[in-house]
């Protein structure tokens, strides 16, 4: 067993990208993603990583350059956050529409206004429908592992879609914690060189991104959507292979706590660990409570999720983003829509917590649980901890 190294999670992600042996990095620095791309630029400058680093002038160009380089057959990486992700918006659809296996880290951060550099999931939730595979990491080890696995998923010829790995801004990106690194040789064996299905090649010209007339557009979208739906199986397969090869097991949906728990917290991202401490303390004091973590957000793993919540009487769904004007936060909307077809439905509470970097603590989770028991949470959703005069 190798020894864990204590370092900032951003640097662990940069190491993962280096070990994935990328050919092109096109990125624009933005807090809290900066340390990742800064470190990568150092690797390229000092020759540790033989790649092209494109210091673009905006995130719109970062994604455009990524589309170009991926289309030319280069293994391509970028990373961004909040406003940067929003600026990429239109090109994100092009990346998936052209079936380009770009890998991107999103250091999740709240969107302005007011200006916030702190964490929530508002940035990626505004990009739910970009047609990318979207994964949420819970800790530094996952961020490292999944950043490598992401290339394997994206480049699989049954997928050929871009993959975005979400890591909570600051809470993960700026955290110093133990990470176990994998030998380069083992990574090379796990992740073979990129073998593109279609490339821009002057010797064999193709046109990528032509006009899709009304007679073609729907079929074209259907193709991408089906690839995304099918990717679920490949994500599971790659996670499985990861577990067998490196002895760290990841599931699409992960259930923690007692099997027969009546109440379940549903979380995504780094909040899950704090939730687990609350679940442990509540279980110790005789409560019937557990936790379900959504690791794969797009495509949403329906079957696995329904299995995980089977038997639960109550769900406390934590959203780290608002969906203004809707009935619920994004995750609760997803889950409620899924439950509509189920014969037996658990009660659903939705708590929107941790907006713009607001700390969410073990105490908060315990209080949410107590309020849900007494039915004191708002029937639609509660914005946790919001100060009010009412």
């Amino acid at each position: 067993m190798t020894k864990a190294k204590g370092l900032e999670v951003s640097l662990a992600v940069a190491e993962a990208v280096k070990q994935a042996n990328v050919d092109v990095i096109a990125a624009y620095p933005i807090t809290p993603q900066t340390h990742i791309v800064e470190e990568l630029s150092v690797y390229v400058a000092n020759g540790e990583l033989d790649a092209e680093y494109v210091p673009v002038e905006s995130e719109h160009t970062a994604m455009s350059a990524s589309v170009g380089s991926s289309a030319a057959g280069a293994r391509t990486y970028t990373a961004t956050s909040a406003q940067g992700l929003a600026l990429m918006h239109e090109i994100l659809f092009i990346a998936s529409g052209l079936r380009l296996p770009i890998v991107m880290t999103v250091a999740n951060r709240a969107l302005s206004a007011p200006i916030s550099i702190w964490n929530d999931h508002g940035d990626i939730m505004a990009e739910r429908d970009i047609g990318w595979v979207q994964i949420f990491a819970e800790n530094g080890q996952e961020a490292y592992d999944l950043s490598i696995a992401a290339f394997k998923i994206a480049e699989d010829h049954r997928v050929l879609l871009p993959v975005c790995v979400n890591i909570d801004g600051f809470i993960l990106t700026h955290m110093i914690e133990p990470v176990l690194f994998i030998d380069q040789k083992k990574i090379d064996a796990f992740l073979p060189p990129f073998n593109p299905a279609l490339t821009l090649d002057p010797k064999k010209p193709v046109t990528m991104g032509p006009v899709g007339v009304p007679e073609v557009y729907a079929e074209s979208r259907k193709q991408c959507e089906q690839a995304l739906i099918n990717s679920r199986e490949i994500v599971a397969e790659v996670f499985d292979q990861w577990g067998k090869t490196f002895d760290r097991n990841y599931k699409l949906i992960e259930k923690n706590g007692p099997d027969e728990a009546k109440s379940l917290f549903i979380t995504m991202g780094s909040m899950g660990e704090t939730t687990m401490t609350a679940v442990q303390e509540l279980t110790d004091s005789g409560e019937s409570v557990g936790q379900v973590r959504i690791r794969l957000w797009r495509p949403f793993p329906k079957k696995e999720f329904l299995n995980a919540i089977a038997g639960a009487e109550e769900l406390i769904i934590i959203d780290r983003a608002l969906s203004p004007g809707s009935h619920n936060g994004p995750v609760a909307q997803e889950v409620k829509a899924l439950l509509y077809d189920e014969p037996v439905k658990p009660r659903v509470h939705n708590v929107i917590a941790g907006l713009g970097g607001r700390d969410v603590t073990v105490k908060d989770f315990k209080k949410m649980y107590a309020m849900s028991r007494k039915n004191e949470l708002d029937p639609n959703y509660t914005i946790w901890g919001v100060r009010s005069d009412a």
């Binding site: 529409g97 052209l98 079936r99 380009l100 050929l160 299905a197 279609l198 064999k204 010209p205 193709v206 046109t207 990528m208 991104g209 032509p210 899709g212 007679e215 073609v216 729907a218 079929e219 074209s220 259907k222 193709q223 991408c224 089906q226």
Partner: protein, 94 residues
């Protein structure tokens, strides 16, 4: 790849790419003109301005140095006639 993109989604090329290069050459853009250009070889000085201005890029230099329009693509817009410095091109009924 399907012969045409009007096919089942399963048969569409990856990312709806077009993998047969040069297929736009098969598209007859010149099927709707009312007027076509005709060059008066007496006036023409073989300067090539008409070929530069043609929005269809359908005028090119022939072996004899003149600049005939390829009527398979010519849409009859008359830009060549307008731009010719010698007024050597006239637009006539097709």
């Amino acid at each position: 790849m399907a012969e045409s993109a009007i096919c089942a989604w399963q048969k569409l090329e990856l990312g709806t790419a077009i993998t047969t290069p040069g297929n736009s050459a098969e598209l007859r853009t010149g099927d709707w003109k009312t007027l076509r250009p005709e060059t008066d070889r007496e006036k023409c000085i073989k300067c090539g301005m008409c070929s530069i201005y043609c929005p269809e890029f359908c005028i090119s230099e022939a072996e004899d140095g003149y600049y005939p329009a390829d009527l398979f693509y010519c849409k009859g817009c008359g830009i060549c006639a307008n731009e010719c410095p010698k007024k050597a091109i006239s637009m006539i009924m097709d």
